[in-house]
């Protein structure tokens, strides 16, 4: 008996990072008092008309480009008609037949996931349900969203989660969306079907109201089991909307699709076609940063380990600092060590690449020791002072003057007659011991290489 294979597609709604709503100048904010960010337009009062936020269009194009989509120079807004108290006009302005971007793809763990479409639409209001009534707050009404729809290219719940994590990272990295799930800025609605036959899809169901990646994974696993159970019992899966309970880990049918509304889509007469010129698309393209995946590969080619490359590339702050420093100090391994160890242990402080590079240069030239460098970095974070100034103030400069060092070496040899005798007899492993003693005596300011050289020579003399 062959196995059932799941086929999964995902719809994501992501909130665009704008100051104002999609069709009016009301502020987009989180956690404000109810109905304080509302005007006649997002309240749908009689007589209002929408006017389109340019930034939202820019971010939608950016999302399309980041997902390798074709950007359409002409797209059309449409009305999706249905009644719900949180929908103030009785229709939602969205894009239907002619979305702004289509036919994209991204790589997720080496597998290509095709992106069917990206389109702009407006958010509905928020309702709070009390025991006897529902309360409606229109602050969210009209907040700009993009909907990102994949082709059914995902074959496991784990892959679905991996896709979502990659997508979330891209949106955050490119400053398209903060994509915080807990704030409903990134919402996932997977659809799923199972089938035994190669090339034949089963009836799909849509899973709604998922608030975490864990819920996505568990709900899909549960839904696969539910659908297989139905098929094994010789019955048919019905098209439906599925809900998932995090408490029980079970999915259930919320409503059957056949009763679904007829949305009566038609072109929004209040908005002429959206034209974006090629030049603007090119300008937006130029603002795209490199995506984490591509960055990681680049860092590996610079000689970083896979693990290190992954850590740096996954943070936009760390990777841009890394690259800025590299422009000044072209020592990828050295710079990556500083970023991975010291910068991260300081919690990723806001530090200028120029100062950071200056400090690394001082270490590399032997002006200060590695330990002193770490101290300089910590001090820079606290005081924002220049590395040179810190070195001076704290007297961290390395002693590399041979004469001075030789004097100290002699002192140390005198202080440790036993070891000194053994060294003279050729016990080379004691070089390390003496270097340590010199470092101790100089409070770490001696240049260990130079010290080591002097002691070796001393040993050879005998």
């Amino acid at each position: 008996m062959s196995e059932y294979r799941p086929t999964i597609g995902v719809e994501v709604h992501a909130q665009l990072k704008t100051e104002t709503k999609l069709f009016c100048g009301c502020p987009v904010a989180f956690g404000e008092e109810a109905n304080t960010n509302v005007c006649a337009i997002c309240l749908g009062l009689p007589g209002v008309l929408p006017s389109l936020n340019k930034k939202a269009v820019e971010l939608a194009i950016k999302a399309g480009l980041a997902l390798n989509c074709e950007i359409h120079t002409k797209s059309i807004f449409a009305r999706k008609n249905y009644f719900y108290p949180d929908l103030p006009k009785g229709y939602q302005i969205t894009q239907y037949r002619f979305p702004i971007a289509t036919d994209g793809k991204i790589l997720v763990e080496g597998k290509e996931i095709r992106i069917k479409r990206v389109h702009l639409e407006e958010e509905s209001a928020k309702s709070i349900h009390e025991t006897d009534k529902s309360l409606i707050d229109y602050n969210r009404s009209g907040v700009p969203l993009i909907e990102i729809v994949t082709e059914p290219d995902i074959d496991s719940p784990d892959m679905a989660v991996a896709y979502l994590k990659t997508l979330q990272k891209i949106l955050q990295f490119e400053s398209i969306s903060d994509a915080v799930m807990a704030r409903a800025e990134f919402r996932c609605e997977p659809n799923i079907s199972v089938s035994k036959e190669e090339g034949k899809l089963g009836t799909r169901t849509e899973v709604k109201n998922l608030n975490s990646f864990k819920a996505v994974k568990n709900s899909l696993s549960s839904e696969i089991k539910r659908q297989i159970g139905i098929l094994e019992a010789g019955e048919v899966v019905e098209q439906a909307t599925i809900h998932y309970s995090e408490e029980t880990g079970k999915t259930w049918v919320a409503r059957s699709k056949e009763k679904s509304s007829d949305y009566r889509y038609f072109p929004e007469p209040d908005l002429p076609p959206l034209n974006v010129d090629k030049k603007w698309i090119e300008e937006i393209k130029a603002t795209l940063g490199e995506l984490p995946g591509r960055k990681k590969e680049k860092y590996i080619s610079l000689g970083l380990s896979k693990e290190d490359a992954k850590i740096i590339s996954s943070s936009s702050a760390a990777s841009s600092l890394f690259e800025e420093i590299l422009k000044l100090v072209n020592e990828p391994l050295e710079v990556s060590k500083w970023i991975l160890r010291d910068y991260r242990s300081l919690g990723g402080p806001d530090i200028s690449a120029a100062s950071f590079a200056e400090m690394i240069e001082m270490v590399l030239s032997g002006e200060i020791s590695r330990n002193a460098g770490a101290e300089v970095l910590a001090e820079m974070t606290r005081t924002k002072k220049a590395p040179k100034q810190i070195v001076k103030e704290k007297n961290l400069a390395q002693i590399s003057d041979s004469n001075a060092l030789e004097k100290i070496v002699r002192e140390v040899l005198d202080e440790n007659p036993d070891e000194s005798t053994r060294l003279k007899k050729g016990e080379k492993k004691l070089i390390g011991f003496f270097v340590g003693q010199v470092m101790k005596k100089t409070k770490g300011k001696a240049d260990p290489k130079e010290v080591s050289r002097i002691i070796s020579e001393y040993e050879k003399k005998y």
């Binding site: 100051e19 502020p27 008092e33 340019k54 939202a56 009534k133 072109p267």
Partner: protein, 97 residues
């Protein structure tokens, strides 16, 4: 021509109709739809559906904040309110989206 399903339409349009009213409207609707069916006679060349006659491009608004209405103004046209929210019958379990 088959009769239009007025029950379905009134549900989609969210208008509750009383029995008598429904009967009368059913007749009217049949008449109107018979009348507008005339457009089937016109030969049309298929042109791309854009529905906008204007040749001018959609203008943009800059992403600049404007002052919203005061909460008092927002709620000024309804008595059905509670703690600065609009209120309606409890919406849960009544999914129609």
């Amino acid at each position: 021509m088959k009769e239009v399903d007025i029950k379905h339409l009134s549900k989609l349009a969210n208008i509750e109709l009383e029995r008598e009213e429904e009967k009368k409207l059913q007749e009217d609707l049949n008449k109107i739809i018979k009348h507008i069916r005339q457009i089937q006679e016109v030969e049309v060349r298929q042109t791309p559906n854009t529905t906008h006659l204007s040749v001018e491009a959609l203008p943009f608004r800059d992403d600049k904040k404007e002052k919203p209405l005061s909460v008092k103004e927002v709620l000024s046209n309804t008595k059905e309110q509670y703690k600065n929210h609009f209120t309606i019958n409890r919406m849960i379990n009544e999914d129609n989206t």
